[in-house]
Amino acid sequence: MHARAETAAAEPQLDVRAVHLWRGERHLLRGTSFVLERGELLQVVGPNGVGKTSLLRCVAGLLPMESGEIVWRGRQLRECRDDYHQQLAYLAHINALKADLTALENLQYSVALRRPVMSQELRATFARLQIAQCADLPARALSAGQKRRVAIGRILLTRAELWILDEPITNLDSAGIALFEECMAEHLRTGGMILTAAHQLLLQGQPGVRTLELH
Amino acid sequence: MHARAETAAAEPQLDVRAVHLWRGERHLLRGTSFVLERGELLQVVGPNGVGKTSLLRCVAGLLPMESGEIVWRGRQLRECRDDYHQQLAYLAHINALKADLTALENLQYSVALRRPVMSQELRATFARLQIAQCADLPARALSAGQKRRVAIGRILLTRAELWILDEPITNLDSAGIALFEECMAEHLRTGGMILTAAHQLLLQGQPGVRTLELH
């Protein structure tokens, strides 16, 4: 343990090595590898069904892989799962909102699992995402895009260093996309890491923004 | 009835007049009106939560409106609901696929409700949408985009004259979007009508393509 911890400085933050994954009969990921450093955004691109979501779920530790290893700060993922997950914020295709709780309560409960949070802070985030007027509506009443914004709010509030986002801008209008790009840029400036699956590239041409093409 | 039917020729195909809709405390649609003629595509645009989905559901007859009327070929919607629905194909935010049935079976059963259909025809559609390899996979195994393509396949196969599509290109990759634009163009050429909610405009600048801005 200790030895590893010391060498960790040299290691990259997140190091994914030769991941192989089968889905049913299909050999989906054939030795996918990448490295993610502080302040970097890696956008996984590729046609529908190529395996972006699967890769993201693997990296998040939600999908057991066939072979290969995922190393977080010099330690194997399975050795440090809880520490790793505490640094991780994951946004899936679905939004993980309780239809019967208001948007505010949804965030309150899901964020408070990670860290204590005040409701002013929550409302501030809602305001920033321009859904302040929905804060006290039951989630079932929200529109598709509003739901997505609330889910993004959860990512922002979690204060995790590593974001794993699966097509985050689904259902967002153009204003929403611009807004979300800001948020990502800020997260990168403050040394965060982002791994996304995308059909539409964001923050094009900025430093530290790379794409990973799956075939 | 008869008198109506004769005058119908003069009438527009679909005539939506001064629709008012409340959602909870919110007065969402304030007298929205539009007409749709053969070969026309109307794209409802507007920020998240402005009421696009609600409008589409109203027009599809899935949401009772406060006031206003929807006239289909000269007859009130509630008078001719079944005839109207037989001419209608509706694509919602969710795909309406049974996770336990294969993609093929899903389409088979949902299309056969409307008209007899051969499995060759189904497979042809799968091939056209470039998901031939998924035809025999259980729907739960499909990726987000593949699911959406299957749902679009249902629309194509229904052979309805009026399509109502809620953000149809969600989760589609660029190739898929191009493909879908073709399908829409062809439907319009053959005298079909399309009403969509969109954040990203399709078939820009083509004849008969209009947008309706909601505020």
Binding site: P138 | W22, E25, P64
Partner: protein, 245 residues
Amino acid sequence: MWLWFHKLSSPPYAYQVAARLRPWFSWSALALMLFAAYGGLVLAPPDYQQKDAFRIIYVHAPAAIMSLQVYVVMAIAAAIGVIWRIKLAHAVAAACAPVGAGFTVVALATGSIYGRPMWGTWWEWDPRITSELIQLFLYLGYMALRASFDDTQRADRASAILAIVGVVNVPIVKYSVVWWNSLHQAPTISKLGKPSIELSMAWPLYTMLLGFMLYFAAVLCDRVRSEILRRERNASWLTETVKTS
């Protein structure tokens, strides 16, 4: 008639009418009940076999009869609401349920109290008693179903269907005594033609029944008004009436 019906079905008008009628109902109900209670508890002679215990019937029978009639009213209102799309009718149906449930509870309670001296038991699984219990569950189910929808219009139509289906139970309650040989009293007062109990016992019963009906009408007025208030909260006429009053 039809015109009046339509006029009444407009919330503002109904709101005012209910307000105007309510005091009449409530006061006359109170008077009748007191009168009937006096008649039943003091004037009426003790029953030759049931002694004074029978006097509880003056609460029991009317309550029980109301428990059924309220349901019928509720179902009819619901049906009207569904068929002619009249919101007010739904409001009436919604207002009926709790009152009916109340009557049912009273009927059950007084009944079982009554049963102690008569049958020597608080509770007996006899067709009428059971079907009356089902009646209670129906009311509760109706209210629960209503409460589970957060959109009023959907709640209206869903619960209306339940109310209409549930009507099946009313004749079962009413004629269970006739169909199955039951511990329970055969219908005596509700048997029109010649009542099989003598008048001195009967008239307080009828008066009490009338009193209960009026009471029901009064409560209904209140509940319908609050229902209207809840449903029309963002309607223009309401703000005006509130301002004026």
